[in-house]
Every structure is written in C-alpha cells, then in structure tokens.
C-alpha cells in the first residue's frame, strides 16, 4: 500500500461526505467504520510501509512519525464513535471536517517538506474553527482560536523562511542554529499544543465548543501535532543550553500557573482545559531537557495526556449531555446514575495526577529522570527548580481532580423529580471512554513493551520501577482484600449523610466547587487571580486593547474633512520629494 493512502483516503472521505446530504442514521454507522478502516490502513502501513522511490525525499518515516501516526488513527476511531452519538445536526458536514482534520494531521507528520507541513498545519486550524461552531455559541471563541492559530501559522512561515535562507531548501533537514527560526517554529508549536503564553484559546474553546470537538482537537490531535513539531525541531537543530533551559522554564511556569488556574474553576470543562494546558507544560519540560530520557518522557506524556484528557472531556460531555450543565455547583452524586463514566473518569484522573501504575505516572517519571539528567549539564539550580515545579504541579493536579470528581459524582445532590430518569449512559458515548480508560492502564503497565522498546530499543533508566510487578502486587492486594472481606463476613452498615449528628437537609449539599476557596482568597493569590480576571495575562486581550487604543487615534484623524486629507497628500508628497531629491 502506498504511504500516501491515509492522506488521500481521508481527503476523499471528507469530500464525499461534504457533498452527500445529511443522512443521519447511516452516517452514524458509516463514519466509525471509515475511521476503523483508517486505523487498519495505519497499522498495515506501520509494518509494511511502501514508500515509492520517487517520493522518499518527501516523506518522513522515523519512530517519532510512526508513534504519532498510530495515535492519530486511534483517536480518529474513538472520537468518531463518540461524535456519532453526540452530534445531532449536520452530521455530514461534521464528519467531513473530521476526516479533513485527520487527513491534515497525517499530512503534517508525514511531510518532509516545510511548505507541505505548513499547508496541512493551517488546514487543521481551519477545520477546528469550523467544527467548534457546530450547534454551539462558540463563535467568539472560534474567532479567537483561529486568530491565534492562524497567527502562529504566519510565524511558522517566518521560521521556515529563515531556515530556507540558511539551508537553501524547504526540506525538514538539519540546520545551523538560528534564534529567529527556532523561536518562530516553537511559537507555532506552543500555540497548537496550548503552552503558555499562547494557551489562551484553549479555555474558551473548551468552554463553548461541543465536548467531542474539544476532546478531538485541543485535547488530543493538537497536542500530538504541536509536540510533534517541537520534538521535530529539537531533533533537527542543535539547541544551545541557554535556550534549552528557557524552554524548560516556560514548561515549568506553564505547569504551575495553569494548575493554579484550574484549582479555582467552577465549571468542569474550563477546569479540564486548564489541566490540558498544565499537562503541555510537562511535555515541553521533558522535550526541553534535550536528553533522550526527557524527550522520551515528553513524547510518552503527549500520548498519555491525549488519552486521559480526551477520556475526561468525553466523560464531562456525558455528564453535560444528561444534566445540561457543567457548573460544579449544580452537579453532584452522579456516580450511581453514570457508573461507567464515573469509573473511567476516576481512572483517567488518577492517570493525570500521576498515580502508579497508570500511564501518567510512567511518563512523568521519565520526565523527572530527564530533568535530573539535565541538572548534570548546565544550570543545575534552574533545572532543580523545574523539577520541583513539576512535582508540585502533580500534587496540585491530584488536588484539583479530587474537587472535580467530588463535585460531579459524589456528595448527596437532589435533582428535580423525573430528571433522574433521564440520567442514562448511552453506549456510543460510554464505549470510547472505556477504551481510553483501559488504554491508561495498559499503557501504564506495559509501558516498556508498548512504548520504550518499539521507540528506543533500549533506554537506560536509573531508579527502580517495574510496572508489571507493581501491577501484580496491586492486583494481588486487591484480590487478597476481597478474599478477606468475603471470608471474614464483616458486617456493613449503611447510614445516610449527616452533619453534627443530624441528617442532612436537601439544601446542605456540599458541592466541592469551593474546596480551594482558601487559596482563592488568600494573598498573594487573590491579587494574582484578580489580575487574571482582568485578562492581563491574556496575550490576545492585551494586544487587542493596545491595537484598539491606536485605532481610536487613527479614527480620530480620519474625520472626513477634505482639507485635512488634502494636507496629508501634501505632506506625503513632500516626503517623497525629499527622498527622491537626495537619492
């Protein structure tokens, strides 16, 4: 099979779906089947790549590409199933953009030519813009998203133009160091992946866009692509130590700041979106170390994060679908209505918090090792700071997920009568979550076999961690516990919730939304949150305010008086005359 097949197949599917009418019933079945075909093609190509002789210079086919290649197909399948169950209107257009996104993602990672990469890069931004606005009020967020992504696209062009001047070719080849090129390309990668300071579109997008779209692009594919580009630029340019440490610091700052923002959110999707940003910090930190351990950790974290983060978004989507809200204050006690969603989200939230033996632990562990290895090189103090930030961020992540899980699923919450009957899980929405939650466990336990060996062959790791052994012990422990429980016949007493010795009144629901109010109200956090509230950390809003200040001035000058305009002509003429005179 030809290596271009995934791109061509998805393009054709996208085109055909675009021109077909909106047949909902068949599309719901056909789209997942097509996505499955995609993954079959992908797996087949992974083992039997057929790169025509003529095009070898146009195709990148190394381990990095293969890794991302497989997971694009994987997320395509999982999210097509979920979308088929979630999206109600204009399914043909939705899936058309969906497959166009897949095609562009394949194009980005397969291309060995910068121009082709930029074209697909831009297309994936446009499809996100279109998909965000499906049956939602996300117009403002979509506008902001496309401006940031399109702007980063322009910077990518600038970076590539500089590389072209250096190497004389548009191929993705190794090049001499160039600050402008690196900064521009890294900015594009950061914007796509959602690292600070270009993260600002992610909370808005997650808040307003349909959950499958958020899970599909900002939570998984955009992470894959952004980090792919960052890893790629690290692999083709030799980075000076000072830049490496800067990238690591940016990553660490992202981890801490975003997780602090996440702690105080009151809606589930915004909370998750800040974690999406925070987790990018880990990947950037890992890749920024520039040593094999750190990069392996960053890449593995990229995969893991995409898995558990999309699982969390999908779970939230399920919650929102039944309860029509994602405000933490208004939710609670859903565990008994949505058990599968609860379980899979619990697993995913343990994974994101880095609890062993789940995948999130393994990749964070790799990243810590990479950072430790980096301390041996230059700037040991700063590297240690980064390590501390990463560790601390991990703890805060766990804390904020305890809040989320409590607020959504635990606590006693009374819903209006009759509402509870609608609280049912739909197979097409739950099945993807099960797959993703299982992947969290499997990738954690078999990390060596599934990730390290295929990617790196043999990576020397310091420290002792045998996930299989640990998992075995955990399972043995659980089984033993269950056995003891069954044998000893301990009596169980169930009581209703109470406070101060009295039964709870319906209005005494503890939502969990204010778990960390103390942080919010304590100085200096209160001051910083206040600034964040005013959008002073939002690059987009700050630039917008500055631009509109200048615009006000310019509009004041354009007052419609003809004589003024004529005097401008005179002034401009004089300048031209002077220039020509002295030339």
């Amino acid at each position: 099979m030809n290596i271009f097949l995934p791109i061509i197949f998805n393009l054709i599917v996208a085109f055909v779906l675009f021109i077909t009418p909106d047949w909902k019933k068949p599309l719901k079945v056909i789209a997942p089947i097509l996505a499955f075909a995609n993954i079959v093609i992908g797996v087949y190509l992974l083992f039997n790549p057929n790169i025509p002789e003529k095009y070898t210079a146009w195709i990148l086919w190394d381990n990095l590409t293969k890794l991302v290649f497989f997971f694009i197909g994987f997320f395509g399948l999982v999210l097509s199933i979920y979308s088929a169950g979630f999206i109600k209107k204009k399914l043909n257009k939705y899936f058309s953009y969906f497959f166009l996104t897949l095609a562009s993602a394949y194009g980005i990672i397969l291309s060995a030519n910068w121009i082709v990469l930029i074209i697909f890069w831009g297309i994936s931004g446009i499809t996100l813009y279109l998909m965000m606005q499906f049956n939602s009020g996300a117009n403002l967020a979509a506008k902001k998203t496309l401006i940031i992504l399109g702007g980063s696209d322009s910077f990518l062009i600038l970076g590539v133009a500089v590389l072209y001047r250096l190497t004389g070719s548009f191929g993705i080849l190794s090049s001499t160091w160039s600050m402008i090129a690196f900064v521009c390309i890294a900015a594009a990668a950061f914007a796509k992946a959602g690292n600070m300071p270009f993260h600002i579109w992610i909370p808005d997008c997650a808040d307003k866009a349909p959950p499958p779209v958020t899970a599909f692009m900002p939570a998984s594919l955009d992470k894959l692509l952004g980090i792919y580009l960052l890893a790629r630029i690290f692999s083709i340019i030799t980075i000076p130590p000072v830049v490496k440490i800067s990238v690591m610091l940016i990553g660490s700052i992202t981890i801490i700041c975003a997780v602090f923002m996440a702690l105080t959110q009151h809606t589930a999707k915004k909370l998750l979106s800040y974690h999406a940003i925070s987790q990018v910090g880990y990947m950037v930190l890992g890749i920024g170390t520039g040593n094999p351990l750190g990069i392996a950790g960053g890449l593995f974290h990229m995969i893991n994060n995409s898995i558990y983060k999309s699982c969390l978004f999908l779970g939230t989507g399920q919650v929102e679908k039944v309860s029509k809200t994602d405000h933490l204050d208004k939710l609670g006690g859903l565990a008994k209505y949505l058990p599968i969603t609860f379980t899979s989200m619990l697993i995913a939230s343990f994974a994101i918090s880095g609890l062993p033996p789940l995948n999130g632990f393994f990749s964070k562990w790799l990243i810590y090792q990479g950072v430790l290895a980096a301390t041996a090189e230059q700037y040991p103090f700063l590297s240690i700071l980064c390590l501390l930030a990463a560790l601390f961020g991990s703890a805060l992540t766990l804390a904020s997920f305890m809040k989320l899980m409590h607020a959504l699923f635990l606590g006693a919450k009374k819903y209006p009568k009759g509402a509870e009957k609608k609280f049912k899980e739909k197979f097409s929405l739950v099945f993807p979550q099960i797959i993703l939650a299982l992947s969290c466990i499997v990738l954690g336990v078999f990390a060596f076999d599934l990730f390290i060996k295929p990617m790196y062959g043999n990576l020397t790791l310091t420290g002792l961690w045998h996930p299989k052994m640990a998992m075995l012990l955990i399972v043995v422990g659980l089984v033993l516990g269950a056995l003891i429980f069954l044998i000893s016949r301990i009596k169980i007493r169930r009581v209703k919730g109470f406070a101060g010795g009295e039964g709870l009144r319906p209005d005494m629901h503890i939502s969990g939304a204010d778990f960390y109010e103390g942080i919010e109200n304590g100085q200096p956090f209160k001051f910083i949150y206040g600034l964040a509230e005013k959008k002073l950390f939002d690059l987009y809003e700050v630039l917008k305010a500055m631009a509109f200040y200048v615009i006000k001035l310019l509009r004041y000058l354009h007052n419609g008086v003809l004589t003024n305009y004529l005097s401008w002509i005179l002034a401009g003429g004089v300048i031209i005359l002077v220039v020509i005179w002295f030339m």
């Binding site: 403002l140 399109g150 696209d153 062009i157 631009a547 615009i551 002509i569």
Partner: protein, 491 residues
C-alpha cells in the same frame, strides 16, 4: 498584434451602443444593456487569454513612433489585462441582478464599459498623452459610478474622490508637460531611452516625484488614501469590486511600476517597501476598527496594496513575482468579498455588521464564498492568499529584511483578526428573527461569487512552473529589465 486596438474599441463602442439602443427603445428594455455588457466583457476576457506570452506593438494609422500613436503589449500588460477583464466579466454578471435596485441601468452599463475601455487603454498605451487620456476616461467614469446612487453620502464620497483624483490627474499632466518640454516627444519608449542617456537632473527628479505622488493617490497608498474608504463603500457593490479589485491597481500600481521601472529606470531603493509597510499596518488597524462591512473591506484594500508595493519595493525577482501574484490574488478575493457584501446588502439592506448575524443559515452560498475569500485574504492555506503571503515573507527574508517580514506577518495577523470579526458578526452566530425568511442571493450573483470562490483555489496553480513561466515570469522580466520594453518599440 492587430487585435490590440479592439481591447479599447469594443468596450468604447459598446458604451455608446448601449446608450443609443436605449434611446431607440425608450429605456424600456433593460435586458439589452445587460446582455450586451456581459457579452462584451466575456469576449474581452476570452481574448486576453490568448495574449499571454506574446509581446509586440501596434501602430495606429501606420504613423511610426515617436510621432504616431502606438499600443504596446508585454508580459505585464497581458497579465494585468487578463485580470481586469476577468473581474469586469464577473462584475457585469453580478450586476444583472444587483443593479435591478437602481434606475437608469443603461447609463450604468455605459459608464462601466467606458471605465473598462479606459483601463484597457492605460494598460496598452505606448505614449504618455494617451496614458493620461485613458487614465482620465477611467477615472471620470469611476467618479460617476461611485455617485451612481445619488444619495447624500454617495455624492459626498464621489466629490472627495473627484477632488483628490483631480489633483492626481493634474500632477500627471504637469509631469507629462515637463517631460515633453525636456525631450520633445511623448512616446514612452523614446522618453525612456532619452532619460537613460541624460543626467538624472532636478527637473527629472521633480517629474518623477509628480508621477509617484499622483499614482500613489490613484493606488490609495497611505497617506494618499483618504478618498478610498469613502468612495469604495459608497459605490454599488459590483463597482466596489471593480474599484478595489482592479481600478486602483491599473491606474495606480501598474502606471507607477511602468513609469518608475520602465521609463525612469528608478527602483527607489526601498522607498516603496517602506510606503508599503506603513500602508499594511495603518490600513489593517483601521479595518479592525470598522463595523461597516464595506468600509472594513475598503481599508483592507489599502492594507493589501501595501503588501503588493512591499514586494515590488524589495526589487528582487522573487519579491516582484510575489507582488504580482498577490496582485492577481487580491483582485480575485477582494472582488469576491465586495460582492458578498453586496449580496448581503441586497437582501438585508444594511452594511452594518451589528445588524447581521447567522447569515450562513439562510445564505449558504454567500456565507461559504465569503469564508473562502476571508481565509484566502488572511493567508490561510490551501487558498491562493497563503501562497502569496508565503512568497512575500520568503522574499523579505531572502533580500535580507527580516524586520519587513516580521511587519508583514504582524499585518497578516491583523488581517486575519478583522476578517474573523466580519465572519463572526455577519455569517456565524445566531440568526435574527426578522431575517429568518431571507433567501439566498439571486442566480447570477451567486454564479458570479462561485466563479470567484473557485478562482481563490485555482489561482494557486499559477505557481506551477509551467504556468508561472507563461503568466507571471514575463511580467517580472518586464519590470526588472527596462530594455525589453524599449526594444519592443524602438527597432
């Protein structure tokens, strides 16, 4: 080369024929002028396709230059002519439905063809006096067309345009007089030869200044731009499409390039590039602040013209190629955007973005084409604007001006910002209750928009080496090498 005069004669004759036929039928039959105008513009466009890769001279009445009048065709004028007549065709097609809202259609089509004749004349004219005459024909027709609605603001806009355009025309006439006083000929090739052989003295410098200032007014380069934001929105939509799409480029940019590069052999250092940078940023910012759809588009034209002269001002082969490519692309998508705004105005009767919203639901063709055009002009792949932006940035870097490249990128982000603003306000979002019953724009308007939307994708293929060598490279050669133009005329 015997077909050259027909590019001027056909539309000129058509203009008078339309008026004459309407006098005969007592203005009862609108269809006559519609069919005639469309056939003429279509025929002219088809004729221009055969002009590529040809160059030559036509001498009128066998009076050889420098005394006689000659028409000259080279790569640059062939490129410009094809795009002018293409946009003219789509504009007349669009006018069929759109102009039903106005009375006195016959005058509209007559003026339109007159303007077209003037532009074709400018592109072909081989001597300065005819250049001036054709510029005036096109300008005066466009003054009349801007004020065609005869409402207060339209007349005001037309008046401002006329005053500033008049100043520009005076400058041109003065400059021509100075040249004639010095060399005693009006033929452009002969003057070019004489300038090459003489010292670049004060008088010539002053003449050059007059030309550049005058053409800057016509091309609406900041600070000579003030007429454009009034005139382009005030005109009927197809005329706005013509004005922003091709008129400012023909009367302003083409004439300026011809005079500076071919006649004076003067590339101006980076002067044009700096003018372009100012236009990019100021035009972009002003567009960002607009809530009037057509004014937004008008300021955007100023900004985009900035990109074109930035590319030309770089003076490198790649820079000029990028500029000409962007010129072609901008004609396509800016005409399309003005037609979109016309289509919205046709159905809603407003240009105010605040009063629109959710129009994609009721006008999918207008919404879809305008999304394509917006993404193209903002330089998003895979549309044509992306490639011209790419070329301009690479050209800036290759010529050693990273700051220019950065500035161009900042401008392109502003472009993206205000087109996304337009999309958000007009086409996405919630549809107003009162607009629920609105229909898609009429047939010919939709066809015309679809043609241009397809061109937004197709013009990218001009960069394929075979096509590029047939279409763009000859034009670049003409600009870079002043002698090729002279050699066409002086045997």
């Amino acid at each position: 080369m015997n077909t050259l005069p027909y590019f001027v004669l056909i539309p000129l004759a058509g203009a008078f024929l339309i008026v004459f036929l309407n006098v005969l039928t007592k203005n009862k039959v609108r269809v006559i002028s519609e069919i005639l105008a469309n056939m003429i513009t279509l025929a002219l466009f088809i004729m221009t396709i055969f002009m590529f890769n040809k160059s030559g001279m036509y001498v009128i009445g066998k009076w050889v230059p420098p005394l006689g009048i000659n028409l000259v065709l080279d790569g640059l004028s062939a490129l410009m002519m094809s795009i002018v007549n293409l946009i003219a065709f789509t504009a007349t097609l669009f006018s069929i439905n759109y102009m039903r809202r106005y009375t006195a259609n016959n005058y509209y089509y007559a003026l339109f063809l007159l303007m077209l004749a003037g532009m074709n004349g400018v592109l072909l004219s081989g001597d300065f006096f005819n250049l001036f005459v054709f510029i005036e024909i096109a300008s005066i027709a466009s003054y009349a067309l801007v004020g065609f609605g005869t409402e207060a603001d339209e007349l005001e806009a037309s008046f401002k345009y006329m005053v500033m355009g008049g100043i520009a025309s005076t400058f041109i006439l003065l400059a021509i007089a100075l040249l004639y006083s010095q060399f005693g000929v009006l033929n452009m090739a002969y003057i070019s030869k004489a300038i090459a052989n003489s010292e670049f003295n004060i008088l010539l410098r002053f003449t050059l200044f007059l030309f550049i200032a005058a053409f800057s007014v016509k091309a609406a380069i900041i600070p000579f731009h003030a007429w454009l934001p009034d005139a382009h929105p005030a005109a009927p939509a197809p005329i706005s499409a013509m004005l922003s799409g091709v008129v400012i480029k023909t009367l302003g940019l083409y004439a300026m390039i011809r005079v500076m590069y071919n006649i004076f052999g003067f590339n101006g250092g980076n002067m044009l590039a700096y003018m372009g940078l100012i236009s990019i940023m100021v035009g972009g910012l002003l567009a960002l602040g607009q809530m009037d759809m057509k004014r937004l588009l008008a300021y955007s034209s100023i900004s985009q013209i900035g990109y074109i002269i930035l590319g030309i001002g770089l003076g490198t082969k790649l820079g000029i190629l990028a500029a000409l490519f962007h010129l072609v692309n901008h004609s396509v998508f800016k005409s399309l955007l003005f037609m979109n705004s016309g289509s919205v105005y046709h159905r809603l009767g407003t240009r105010n973005l605040d009063e629109m919203g959710g129009l994609n639901k009721v006008m999918p063709i207008t919404g879809g084409t305008s999304l394509i055009a917006s993404l193209s002009i903002s330089g998003m792949p895979p549309f044509n604007g992306f490639f011209s932006k790419l070329l301009i940035i690479i050209a800036c870097i290759q010529s050693g001006h990273p700051i220019f490249a950065f500035w161009a990128i900042a401008g392109s982000i502003f472009t993206l910002a205000y087109y996304m603003k337009m999309q958000r306000y007009a086409f996405f979002g919630a549809l107003k209750e009162s607009y629920k019953s609105i229909k898609e724009s009429p047939f010919f308007m939709s066809v015309s928009m679809i043609i241009l939307a397809i061109l937004c994708l197709v013009t990218s293929f001009l960069l394929i080496p075979q096509l590029r060598d047939a279409v763009l490279t000859p034009a670049v050669e003409v600009i870079l090498n002043a002698d090729t133009y002279k050699a066409l005329v002086i045997k």
